[in-house]
């Protein structure tokens, strides 16, 4: 399922956007209602404020001048009224802004949680089809974009009351004039439609470019060392500048459209008033209306300007709401779930591994693994060897059910892996991948991942992984914090921590997928020797995807894969003797050595 959303003109953004906001209002209905009440209080008291002023003029100022003195009671009343209204109005504002803001933040939090929950539920096959940058943006920037227009909503809805009250008051003054004035509403509506259409297109483009800018920066900073080493800072900056300027232009294009809308929204009520006054004059002259009524309608019109502006804010943000929603919904409605069984895996100690008819391939391409069949006795170490593309890593993923085969099965101690519960499977089988992912956390947490083991067990695992020395040398030892992706450690150190993570669980089947690639050969040898004590003790079966002769040599036997099938199997020496292809593969190492020896011999 593709998450791509085009950036062409969109239709009906207004309605769709409003419907989305209604969803949000329903989800937080209690708090939103409070904010709405606050907004209505605010609106009502704004009118009250005007009324108090009128009252003060008629009942305090004028009479006091006439009588020549200011009665204490009246003065107190004035102060009380104004302050009372102001304080109540302030409470209304607080309710509206604070609670309105909380609604906005809560909605964002809720949707972030939902999106990340989906990420955790969806199977690896789904993850493999979507770039991480896009998924991160869905959980963050897109969620934000959806609910942006939520902030002015309480205000906009609250003042609808003001609007309705004002219109009713206008109608009681003079129906014809009111209708004349209200002609601005259809005008506003029409303008809004055009505005939405033009704006969505540009906003969508700007949103994409924003992601591009982020991607370029991300990649460039990732390769900062290469950039520095080759002195290509200027070239990189040029590349970034290009896409930054594109974003700038897109934002300006969107801004131009917005710049038209707001002044129009401001100007319309004013034109409405003028229209009312001018036509009102005709009506007064013809005797159809009173001057006072015209004044009333005109005055009430000026009050309407305010709610109209609030509507404008909401309408203006709807394109982003709709676009963000589409992107977020693509994740929330994605189907697919990793299915686990109900069985536990009884017993302890090394597992027996049986693979039958194992077939796996990606849609549209040929099979990566074809009818694989092999057994591994408990406690044995098997090396899987083959050229790049022979299916070794895929096999590793299948053994731990990161992906499921198209055909065939993986059995652990005669139980189908698919029948096991997730905890049972994860407890029994550990995979150490080539690219170690470390969390923004302490080394201890990175190794235990929340498993309740004591530090001794952690140190033991680090020891076998040959990581205890460098961890011990860190100033805070196990408590040392690792940065994003554990970048403060070297590649080899990261791999060893990932290995310790697998080992601390005392797995019954350990799968190493080129897990020592960044580690020095002598250290790797020590690791493999260390593992021996666990295999020979019958504690764990080991399947290791091997590239180095040293690794192969330490295995009990070798599985030779080519083009997704097992070409041969047996102890290393036997395979060398009887399989020319295998011999070629492994001898190539020797050839490299031999070539080097020859050259060395030539150097005087």
């Amino acid at each position: 399922m593709s998450l791509a959303t085009g950036h062409g003109k969109r239709h009906g953004t207004t309605w769709r956007g409003l419907r989305i906001l209604f969803v949000g209002m329903r989800e937080e209905r209690r708090l939103f209602s409070l904010a709405l009440v606050g907004s209505m209080v605010f609106g009502a008291l704004t009118v009250a404020d005007a009324w108090v002023l009128g009252w003060a003029t008629d009942h305090v100022i004028a009479p006091s001048f006439e009588s020549g003195e200011l009665e204490k009671g009246l003065a107190a009343a004035v102060v009380a009224l104004f302050m009372g209204v102001a304080i109540l109005r302030a409470l209304g504002i607080i309710a509206r802004r604070l609670i309105g803001g909380i609604v906005y933040f809560r909605l964002m939090a809720t949707y972030r949680r939902r999106v990340t929950r989906r990420y955790l539920e969806l199977p690896m096959s789904w993850h493999n089809r979507h770039p991480t940058g896009q998924l991160l943006s869905n959980a963050n920037a897109d969620v934000e974009a959806v609910w942006e227009s939520m902030m002015p909503m309480p205000m906009a809805l609250g003042v609808v009351v003001m609007l309705i009250v004002a219109v009713i008051a206008m109608l009681t003054a003079d129906v014809v004039l009111t209708l004349v004035g209200l002609v601005i509403f259809p005008l506003l509506f029409a303008i809004n439609i055009g505005y939405q259409r033009f704006l969505s297109e540009r906003v969508s483009l700007a949103q994409e470019l924003r992601a591009d800018v982020s991607a370029v920066a991300h990649e460039s900073f990732d390769g900062a060392l290469v950039v520095k080493a080759l002195g290509r800072e200027a070239a990189e900056t040029e590349r970034f500048a290009r896409v930054s300027h594109q974003l700038r232009d897109a934002n300006i294009a969107a801004g131009k459209i917005r710049s038209i809308f707001d002044p129009v929204v401001e100007a319309l009520p004013n034109f409405g008033v003028l229209l009312v006054v001018v036509i009102g004059v005709e009506r007064v002259l013809s005797g159809a209306a009173q001057a006072g009524d015209v004044v009333q309608v005109a005055y009430l019109f000026t009050i309407i300007a305010f709610p109209l502006r609030a509507f404008g804010w909401v309408l203006g943000g709807l394109p982003r709401t709709v676009i963000g929603w589409e992107r977020v919904q693509a994740v929330l409605t994605a189907r697919g779930r990793a299915r686990y069984g109900d069985d536990a895996l009884p017993g302890s100690g090394a597992l027996r591994l049986e693979v039958s008819d194992l077939t796996f391939g990606y849609d549209g391409a040929g099979p990566v693994l074809d009818d694989l069949e092999f057994d591994v006795e408990p406690g044995r170490t098997v090396a899987v060897v083959g050229l790049t593309g022979s299916g070794k890593s895929t096999l590793a993923s299948l053994l731990i059910r990161l992906v499921d085969p198209v055909k065939g099965s993986v059995e652990l101690d005669e139980r189908n892996a698919r029948d096991l519960t997730h905890p049972a499977l994860a407890d029994a089988v550990s995979l150490v991948p080539q690219q170690a992912f470390l969390f923004d956390d302490s080394i201890r947490e990175n190794v235990t991942l929340g498993l309740p083991v004591d530090d001794d067990a952690v140190w033991e695992a680090l020891r076998v992984a040959q990581a205890d020395r460098f961890v011990g040398e860190l100033p805070q030892g196990l408590d040392s914090q690792l940065g994003e992706r554990g970048t403060t450690l070297s590649g080899g150190q990261r791999q060893r921590v990932a290995l310790a993570r697998a080992l601390v669980r005392r797995p019954r089947l350990l799968i190493l997928d080129d897990a020592t690639s960044a580690v020095d050969p002598d250290v790797e040898a020590r690791i493999l020797h260390g593992l021996r004590s666990r295999t020979e003790g019958g504690e764990t079966t080991v399947v290791v995807v091997a590239y180095r002769k040293a690794t192969i040599a330490l295995a009990d036997e070798v599985l030779f894969l080519a083009s997704g099938q097992i070409l041969d199997r047996g102890p290393h020496a036997e395979l060398v003797a009887r399989s020319p292809a295998y011999r070629d593969l492994v001898d190539a190492y020797d050839m490299a050595r031999a070539a080097a020896d020859r050259e060395a011999a030539e150097i005087p």
């Binding site: 100022i61 990340t116 690896m124 002195g231 401001e266 009102g280 992912f437 100033p475 050969p521």
Partner: protein
Amino acid sequence: MSDGGRSRVGSGEEVTGWQILRRGFALSPALREGLGVTLLLGALSTIGSAIVPVVIQKTIDDGLLGTGGIDRSQIWTYAWLAAGVVLVTAFAAYWMKVRLYKASEAGLAELRIKAFRHVHDLPVLTQDTERRGGLVSRVTSDVDQVSLFLQFSGLLMVISVGQIIVATVVMAVYSWELTLIVWACFVPLIASLRYFQKRMTAAYAKVRQTVGEMLSTISEPVVGASVVRAHNIATRTQERVDASINANLAANTAAQKLVAVTFASAGVAGGLANASVVVFGVLLGLAGHLSVGTVIAFAFLVSLLVGPVQMATQVLTEAQNAIASWRRVIGVLDTPADVVDPGESGVSLPRGSLTASFHDVDYAYPDGPPVLREVSVDIESQARVAVVGETGSGKTTFAKLLCRLMDPTEGMVCLDGVDLRTLRFSSLRDRVVMVPQEGFLFDASLRDNLRYGRPEASDAELVEAIVSLGLADWFETLRDGLETQVGQRGESLSAGERQLVALVRAYLADPDLLVLDEATSAVDPQTELRISAALDHLLSGRTSVIIAHRLSTAEQADQILVFDAGRLVERGPHAELVAAGGVYARLHASWVAQSHLHAATD
């Protein structure tokens, strides 16, 4: 080396809000361009929007309610006038907004690019240890925040200030005494704002901090998806994510409380002002200073002031958030680059193979343990030098110092006798190239990646380079040839192929001193052979320093430098060192044991 998670990049916290604004404008000259005209337009639209109600009022007062009865022509005159003012105001507002968008977007694009460039100038250590997302956000979302602010709130601020000024002037015309009284009512508001401002700065800083942590934990279910499934830690991961999301929610709520209270207090001050005007207006009027008409008119004028004051208060609160973001961006720009290009005042070295030397060099991480101690060595021109040692022995630091990716804490590193620090970068980066351990490739074509070594190279030259390194047959296997897309970080190629590309790139750069950190990633034997051959071709005729992970590299070197715990403990050709039976002999023996295991079992 872990540093306990403290950021080395400046957060700009030491600087006040005003200074940030000033520096922000200084760093983005486009913001100031035509600011005069923009402000003028702003003033125009402000005055316009103030005049409109006045004209409308006059139309009603004089036209409808006037003592002479209704004067149609007068009303029409006023109406046309008012309509004209409305149009001019709207047009001025439109024009001003467009100019504002242009200026702010252009100015902030400048800032973005400056910050981006500076990130590349940051010390290698800082680049390595800083949260990648943190650096990216400074050139993206932080700048976006400032942009949003300038375009919406910043504009409102300008208009509000304008309206406040206009209102004050108009009020003063009616009665300067009442004007003073009104302003006196706003004094407590201003005082409280200063108090709130400090707390808001802290609140928004907290918000941004929680945002950073949230972004980090949210990346776990995405980037670490396979780890989460393999170890069945979905529940734990969800809990971590939820916790960081909730922390962010709490921080936002706390900041919002301050915002709401601040905004509301402006309204309360307004109520006080209204009451004061009525009471004191009457008192003053009774004392003979003011007429009843003035007092009444003034009472209505106060509202002209209160609205903008409230708006300005709101904008001030939003300014805190924007200033916090601006601060972070400026913080990056303020973080000093450690290795600085001497530029014009530096020297250039003529082409030709280089000698290199270390003179009593020490290196220690800032407030960290020493990594290199008293290293002195001379490297001859065209020599092939291998550097060996266990992880953490300092050999990678040695290589980085040699390329001037870092500067020594003590001592001097020289090329042809010239201190690296006096060497112009244009010359240095041309002559010395480092190939790091992990061949980093950009998400582009093979051609683009190779051109990174020599931007002006033609396709023919690229192919020639590939052939010169003996890689013609590998190149044949690429279906799209130079057009081949290598993918993010080069993931479409195998690890071995990435190394090959890095080598060709280095060859194209044609350095006089090549520093290579040999990759340890195991590759399939065919590629292994190709790499060895390519390396051979690459090294001939150049001075080279290789951090060796392959037995053959060390054995073939002219000189081997052996590092142990930060010191250069042994040096010499292979045979000598083996015979000496020291650190190297031990390392060599274990190496041999690994690769000869096969021979033994045969």
